[in-house]
């Protein structure tokens, strides 16, 4: 049996729908505020050090990017929404809060080899351990409250997370602060890829209010990019988008 919304239309019915759609088309020019906003983004992109020419291959983009130490305000080309949305139903937030018991601080703590000389991405541990020995498979449910030293580490980790997340030009993506990190422990076990490859880093974040994970990796073209996963999506292991990192 054909559902009512899938039944074949007569030519007249089809034409009627087409006419209604055509009448609803948008004929107005882009609003001035949007023009101004995009012009600003273009200006920021132009101010970047030779973005376009690097794309064309005059210099290895990945190598160039790896030499840059992102600053907390490194948001060139990042997205500035006209409005900040918090449409997520409260039920989802509550459910996420219940599920997200014990955020794995170890996911973002500095590693011992963090000398700050490499890519900004390398300041994060995460799934460095071989598969089968990762925090993914052993979420720290019900962990003890952090000590003062651990809190200091969390602050540092949050600052580093912010620097990385700020390099991802995706609207709605936001870093977590220290308090949010604590509330997001278990989400990493079920969100994002099960394991990470060499050079890949996982950083917790928030996407339009939803718990999210960003995996930083090197793309096939050699450029660093970020894969974004939304933890309460239908398939939290399916990335929702992949974007190149902002350069500066």
């Amino acid at each position: 049996m054909i559902a009512i919304d899938e039944q074949e239309l007569t030519p007249q019915q089809s034409e009627a729908v087409r006419r209604l759609l055509a009448e609803a088309r948008h004929d107005e020019p882009m609003p001035p505020e949007v023009v101004a906003r995009l012009d600003g983004v273009l200006a920021e992109l132009r101010e970047g050090p030779g973005v376009a020419t690097r794309e064309s291959g005059s210099a290895p983009r990945a190598a160039w990017a790896a030499d840059q130490e992102p600053s907390p305000d490194d948001t060139a080309g990042s997205v500035r929404p006209l409005r900040r949305r918090s449409k997520l139903p409260q039920m989802m937030l509550a459910a996420a809060a219940v599920v997200a018991i014990g955020f794995g601080v170890t996911q973002i703590l500095p590693t011992g080899d963090d000398d700050g000389a490499g890519s900004g991405d390398t300041t994060f541990s995460s799934d460095e351990a071989p598969e089968g020995d990762s925090a993914d498979e052993a979420p720290s449910m019900g962990a003890q409250p952090p000590t003062d030293a651990e809190k200091d580490q969390e602050h540092t980790a949050a600052a580093r997370a912010k620097r990385l997340i700020d390099r991802v030009p995706l609207t709605g993506l936001a870093p977590l602060d220290t308090g949010q990190l604590e509330a997001r422990r278990a989400t990493q076990a079920t969100c994002g890829p099960k394991s990470l490859g060499d050079g890949e880093r996982r950083v917790p974040a928030s996407y339009e209010g939803d718990p999210a994970v960003v995996v930083f990796r090197t793309g096939e073209d050699g450029a660093r990019q970020a894969d974004v996963y939304v933890c309460n999506a239908a398939d939290p292991r399916q990335r929702i988008t992949s974007v190149p990192l902002t350069e500066r």
Binding site: Q12, S14, L20, L21, P31, L42, L170, A233, V243
Partner: protein, 218 residues
């Protein structure tokens, strides 16, 4: 003498700082229209357009030249829209108001109404609002196809290029999208639509398909 789209894109890749802005300004109104109708509201459209702008700016070097620059630009923008919609799927419950079915009975959506009304402008505005609301209930691929073909007037072949799929897929998405919209827009109401003429259907049907559930052809 103004440069062509292709020349502007090449100049951008070669380091001309003003070329991309000129190219984007040339097409921004239509890109805006597509983003607006695909996303359903100006805020999300602006966000998606910005995503696409950044992506196009950075990835201009990947343009292979086997399509028109404007087609490529549309593809980047539409992909940015689709990415955003997929990311927002968790909020999909918001997209279908409980009383949406009630729109099907609205006289304002009578597609064959010919009686003159004193408030035609208001009526048209209401019709448009209902159409746009109904459009948001479609799966994003169907919505994008209908926006390009039925709203913006692109041909099926160009829409297929923009959405990077086969023309048969576009036809199928359009047909299924229209079929989904029809009851929401009151098109299926017996008193709104005259009965089809007797005999075989004419060959002028816009997007014929024999098997809507089929995947894209090879």
């Amino acid at each position: 003498m103004s440069r062509t789209d292709r020349e502007l894109l090449r100049a951008h890749v070669d380091g001309d700082e003003d070329a991309f802005g000129e190219l984007f300004a040339r097409h921004r109104d239509r890109l805006w229209a597509v983003a607006l109708r695909t996303m359903g509201n100006p805020e999300d459209a602006a966000d998606a357009l910005q995503d696409g702008l950044i992506s196009a700016f950075r990835r201009a070097g990947s343009f292979r030249g086997d399509a028109a620059v404007t087609t490529w630009l549309h593809r980047v923008i539409v992909n940015a829209c689709l990415d955003r919609m997929r990311a927002s799927k968790v909020r999909a419950a918001d997209a279908l108001p409980d009383d949406l079915e009630g729109y099907a009975g609205r006289g304002a959506l009578s597609t064959t109404a010919t009686d003159p009304r004193p408030d035609d402008a208001a009526l048209a505005s209401e019709q448009r609002a209902v159409v746009l609301e109904a459009l948001t209930t479609l799966p994003e691929e169907q919505r994008a196809a209908l926006v390009l073909v039925d709203m913006e007037g692109y041909g099926v072949a160009e829409a297929a290029e923009i959405l990077d799929c086969a023309t048969g897929t576009i036809k199928s998405r359009c047909a299924r999208g229209r079929a989904r919209l029809a009851p929401l827009l009151g098109v299926l109401r017996a008193d709104d639509v005259p009965p089809p003429p007797p005999g075989n259907r004419p060959e002028t049907r816009a997007v014929p398909t024999t098997d809507p559930s089929r995947g894209p052809p090879d």
